[in-house]
Symmetry: C2
């Protein structure tokens, strides 16, 4: 058995960053920046007023001082002249501070009569001016690779970057196998169940940036599997679900090998999970997930999501697990890492009693996976454990 | 000034849950379930084997016992007969446990020769059988409202629910105002800047389930604003950005009122933020956000996202803030709640030094907003603070 970290590394070896495509900025949220980009301008592009008020020379600012208002500076419409001694310019938030001015007295500190103002309150020492380039200067970069957040998109807009190079979405083909499976909406036979992993994994991988193609369910025959694999043509990654372990009815590995899969097989020291089949399959990668619903989803999260991220060009960054205290005690763990479905109880995490890997109802309620490491000793209430948010 | 909680409540009063639409299950991840749905079947639908092995009568299970293998049960193909005394059925994971059997001996504990098996190891007390309905039973509900996670989608598939009632996406029209603004890719005049809030808010609101329509930038004239508002026809919520405070060049409120806005105006005791304009605007709601980039994004997160969630039918559930220790000390706070951009330093949060509301570069780096409550005393390193993940 190999560790979760070693299995992850072996799987990441099967994929590499995909091509770059150029998108309009408005379409890039959640996408991964492929090459670093630089600000085309300073922000603000001029010394700008941070408040509504009056722009004056800082040297003349003191309580009771009087100024003559000689003009106005609004956002988008600066004052074209120069502010001389004893002069002030009415100014609004975001407007360029006029030449000769170096202080904005906020309007609440001013008494105005006609075109004369008096500083009726102590204006303090804050100039209320944002210096040119204080947010960013020309050439400042947003560094790739980076998954673009809403704030990143706002920042790139302010930098006047209208189009962006991003990695194209990895195409993942999902192939559920098994005579026991039928699609939702169909009427299952007495020995059948409804396929669920495909739908859950599709949602999970799309959430992380993949484009998912759901293939028809493959029956447990060589020919059905062969046909199914031909439908995966063009995908960057083929993920099979079920049929990949060592049972007599598990044909996937054999068929895939006859079609050219260079097969690796990993027994991973984890629960839920167990065997993973993987390998290079012509121009693409292939991963075989266990058919148990919860195992498939947890292995999808721990192994397939990082492969998607690697194809998006993101650095290999093992999940940064946070720590939180336990609300209940845990017994000592065996040799396999146990990813326990858990929910929050206030600020503490409560793993569910029944961790059986068939229980989707428990997975759907779970808010986090608590990691009970291999051979960990028993943990007490309030002991800190690492967890992964679901 | 009113509190953040009171402002939020006033804004939520302006919206209500939208209509319901029916979608295919595969399209529902991230959408909000509008009415509760019930499982159409038990899962598993029969007592099912949890392992590959041999199904026998539990009463006959003991080390060295011998059985005759009389048939096979695979996933999708049960054994049709009854398992009699001294008999075993070869069984695979997910197969129905045949009549007469009540225990699955795992294959690793069995020695097989021809059609005879001997229990070569102690088979233990775990029957390796998943009881019918142990995951869920017919009629078990997934309760609305609920934003559907990947695991929920998997669970609903297993329940054989092929189509789902979800709330339609709220249509939000975003209107940036100001003579100082130009679109990314254009060449700004010397007094102009690039519009950024629209792009950041679009990404933010789409992330939370809205369909966002970006209107052309409105210039600072009555007629430009009137035209812009007509383009918002059909939206459920109009969000204006900038032009909504009390400056002489802030025309939005006046124009909106002349077009029928029943205006409310809130001075909110928060930083960044300050004035919010809001009201009922014919059949829709309107919110006016401050034009400062960071203020707009933070107010978008704290106020507009909850409005989107309310239109999606989600319950009013103030952000459940988590707590984490501070990596640096904070001075005591004034009367306004301060939402401080912060990043993680290990398990602790470090608010950035410069919290000026114009700094998008700081927002883009931030991983969380630390809440320094109104009039909070100074906080020391390692004091717990509430935060909101960005």
């Amino acid at each position: 058995m190999i560790s979760v970290a070693d299995a992850r590394a072996a799987l990441l070896d099967l994929v590499k960053p995909l091509d770059v495509e150029t998108l309009r900025l408005a379409d890039t949220a959640g996408r991964v920046l492929a090459t670093s980009v630089s600000a085309r301008r300073d922000q603000p592009p001029f010394d700008a007023s941070a408040m509504d008020g009056y722009a004056v020379n800082a040297a003349e600012v003191e309580q009771h001082a009087m100024f003559k208002v000689v003009g106005e500076a609004a956002a988008g419409h600066g004052f074209q002249g120069r502010v001389g001694a004893g002069q002030a310019v009415r100014i609004f938030t975001g407007a360029p501070v006029p030449q000769g001015a170096s202080f904005v007295v906020i309007q609440e500190d001013v008494h105005r009569k006609g075109d004369l103002i008096t500083l009726s309150n102590d204006p303090g020492t804050n100039s209320n001016i944002r210096a040119r380039g204080c947010d960013f200067a020309v050439g400042q970069t947003v560094t790739a690779p980076r998954r673009l957040s809403p704030a990143d998109v706002a920042l790139l807009a302010a930098m006047n970057i209208a189009e962006l190079p991003v990695r194209r979405r990895p195409v993942v083909a999902l192939l559920s196998t098994g005579d026991e499976l039928v699609m939702p909406g169909q009427t299952p036979g007495p020995d059948q169940i409804i396929v669920s992993n495909t739908f859950g994994l599709k949602a999970l991988l799309e959430q992380h940036g993949a484009e998912v193609r759901v293939l028809p369910i493959a029956r447990d025959t060589d020919s059905a599997l062969r046909t199914a694999f031909t439908l995966a043509e063009g995908a960057d990654l083929v993920v099979t679900i079920g049929g990949a372990s060592v049972g007599d009815h598990d044909l996937v590995a054999g068929v895939a090998q006859s079609l050219g899969l260079e097969r690796s097989f990993y027994k991973v020291a984890m629960r839920p999970g167990k065997p993973l089949m993987a390998g290079r399959f012509g121009p693409r990668a292939m991963v075989g997930l266990p058919g148990n619903p919860v195992s498939a989803m947890v292995c999808g999260r721990l192994f397939v999501v990082p492969m998607v991220e690697a194809m998006l060009g993101l650095p290999d960054q093992p999940d940064r697990l946070k720590r939180a205290p336990l609300a209940i005690a845990l017994p000592r763990n065996g040799p396999r890492a146990h990813y326990m479905r858990a929910m929050w109880t206030g600020d503490r995490l409560t793993p569910f009693d029944n961790q059986d890997s068939s229980l989707l109802s428990v997975l759907a309620q779970a808010e986090a996976l608590v990691l009970h490491p291999p051979n960990a000793p028993a943990a007490a209430v309030d002991d800190l454990v690492e967890y992964l948010t679901l």
